[in-house]
């Protein structure tokens, strides 16, 4: 077995036993990245010298001691680039650590490498990156999902042991499903957003990509908790998210939202997800049908609220304090308008325009306020469903990974790829995608993800359920050939 094939738990055990050193782990990753990243293109940059230096000093007795962790290029790490895959931040260097990075370091981990994404995390395919299109490790002609496509592809391709991503409408869970890894979106407020470049502040949450559910719990242990620098992080006690792993599913009630099994879903996705649900039943789970009646409105609500918040958040890119600035502006208005025209890519501009429009005088009530009210109904749907069950189970994405270029001309169709993941962000609940099989397209095997959605702050239970399913299958052991 190659070093890079190890899970975080196994790697950490070997580091702790001094069978391997943290520098060995960094070097093994570097070798793997050099060999395959020219094809996968998951990394935007990496600072090998800094990682080696930190690895040499890592305390392997800590929970993540000596484990290198890849970071989505939208989370600040002192001295490193943080481009958000945008030209507007091409030359930016982070002057501080995001709270999740400070917490990873406190747990002994070594941040290593900056991973590609859709510009400002806006997209579902990672094709909106201003720098490169990351490929799906299972089929290099296909997208890895997005927006955290680099974070997902790197874990699947064994060029990272684990990574951090961010999830605003599915940007962790959807690429995890399409690349065949475990992706966890924590409850809103579980993990500090301080140092995450904001897309939609009421929806964004940072979470881990890993190859196993146990690793997911280990990372969540490290990054969770209230942070005085993020007033929306909550003071809920941080549990040991691996504590319930190994418990079976007897007595667990799993809700099946009937609105998530509608026509239009890929037949192979449906078959795999239905088989996985049967598997959960055979492991002792009790299945209950539930209804989330406002599901069909979630995408519409999301694209109003997320773009509205984005239009305000991205106003900070003004070419004054950081980022690109247009040359020789004739006045301040020209300075702003050309700076932003030159710095932002097409999808970002499109969303800023939409967000500005739905907030503008005369349209605020009709679009933004109405969307906020429907958001209330979507939240209530989940509250009602969770009165009947412990967690929900459903597909993560309606489709297998699609071809590069297939949807770039059709934003609406791209938006609909997030149909099963968006509602969790609107409701603020936690969700996770775990591999549940493969479909086939043009003779290639492509991963399928099973999504579990949990009550707010019920991540320990969510991981217990996903772990019980995962351990009864071999899906998480499958590897792409590269």
């Amino acid at each position: 077995m190659e070093i890079t094939d190890l899970s975080v738990a196994d790697l950490q055990a070997r580091l702790r036993a001094r069978e391997l050193s943290p520098v060995d782990a960094v070097n093994a990753l570097e070798e793997r990245i050099e060999a395959i990243d020219p094809q996968v293109q998951a990394y935007l940059s990496r600072d090998l010298a800094a990682a080696r230096e930190e690895a040499a000093k890592a305390d392997v007795t800590l929970p993540l001691g000596g484990v290198p962790i890849g970071i989505k290029d939208v989370i600040n790490v002192t001295g490193q680039p943080c481009t958000a895959a945008s030209k507007i931040l091409e030359s930016y260097r982070s002057p501080y650590d995001a709270t999740v990075i400070a917490r990873l370091r406190a747990a002994g981990a070594v941040p290593f490498g900056r991973l590609n994404l859709d510009e400002f995390a806006m997209g579902s395919s990672t094709e909106n990156s201003a720098y490169q299109a990351t490929r799906n490790p299972w089929d290099l002609t296909r997208i890895p999902g997005g927006s955290s496509g680099g974070s997902a592809a790197a874990v699947a391709a064994r060029e990272a042991f684990a990574t951090l991503g961010s999830d605003t409408g599915g940007s962790i869970r959807q690429p995890a499903a399409l690349c065949g890894c475990v992706g966890l979106k924590p409850t809103y407020g579980r993990v500090s957003r301080y140092g995450l470049i904001a897309f939609a502040s009421s929806l964004d949450q940072i979470g881990p990509f890993t190859r196993t559910t146990r690793d997911s719990g280990l990372l969540l242990n490290a990054i969770s908790g209230r942070d005085p620098r993020d007033s929306t992080s909550l003071d809920q006690p941080v549990e040991d998210y691996t504590a319930l792993l190994g418990r079976d599913l007897k007595g667990v009630r799993l809700g099946i939202p009937k609105e998530y099994f509608v026509d239009g879903m890929d037949a192979q996705v449906r078959a795999s997800v239905e088989a996985a649900i049967k598997q959960c039943e055979s492991l002792g789970a009790e299945l209950v049908e539930v209804s989330l009646p406002h599901t069909e409105f979630a995408v519409g609500v999301y694209y109003i609220i997320a773009t509205a918040e984005a239009s305000a958040n991205l106003a900070r890119f003004d070419g004054v304090r950081y980022g690109h600035r247009a040359d020789a502006p004739k006045d301040l208005l020209d300075h702003y308008k050309r700076t932003r025209e030159e710095g932002f890519g097409s999808e970002v501009k499109r969303r800023i325009i939409l967000g500005t429009y739905v907030l503008s005088s005369g349209y605020y009530d009709a679009f933004y306020l109405r969307a906020q009210k429907v958001r209330t109904l979507i939240r209530q749907d989940f509250t009602n469903a969770f009165a009947q069950c412990d967690a929900l189970v459903c597909p993560t994405s309606p489709d297998l990974a699609f071809k590069l270029g297939e949807r770039t001309d059709d934003p609406l169709r791209m938006y609909l790829a997030d149909i099963f993941t968006i509602a969790a962000n609107l409701a603020g609940i936690c969700g996770l995608s775990v591999p549940c099989g493969f479909g086939e397209a043009d003779g290639t095997k492509l991963p399928i993800g099973l999504q579990f959605l949990g009550k707010p702050f019920d991540e320990a239970r969510l991981l217990q359920i996903a772990h019980a399913y995962e351990q009864s299958t071999d899906w998480h052991k499958a590897q792409p050939t590269l």
Binding site: Y188, L332, K373
Partner: protein, 95 residues
């Protein structure tokens, strides 16, 4: 819901983004379709529903008003496209 009367050129000015004529035409069509899609929200009866701004029911988080170490001046200025004398330079605002 009022019918979408999106004028991309006007909104781009509000958002302080220059757009080419080609982009304006493209966004007009694409966002027109998105707005047509979100028009479905008008089917929902929201007459007795409170809006949700945030998934967590928290308001007014307070902290003690105490000075704490922040970014040093050098670090705060390091990313500024133009600076002089320890200050960020802004394009002229007044004549």
């Amino acid at each position: 819901m009022s019918s979408p009367e999106l004028d991309v050129r006007y909104v781009a000015n509000l958002a302080r983004i220059d757009l080419s004529d080609a982009e304006i035409a493209q966004f007009q069509t694409q966002l027109g379709r998105v707005l047509e899609y979100v028009e479905q929200l008008s089917q929902v009866d929201v007459s007795h529903v409170e809006p949700t701004a945030h998934a967590n029911d928290i308001t007014n988080v307070f902290r003690a008003d105490e000075a704490k170490p922040g970014l040093e001046k050098k670090a705060a200025l390091a990313n500024a496209p133009r600076q002089a004398n320890g200050l960020v330079m802004v394009t002229k605002v007044v004549e």
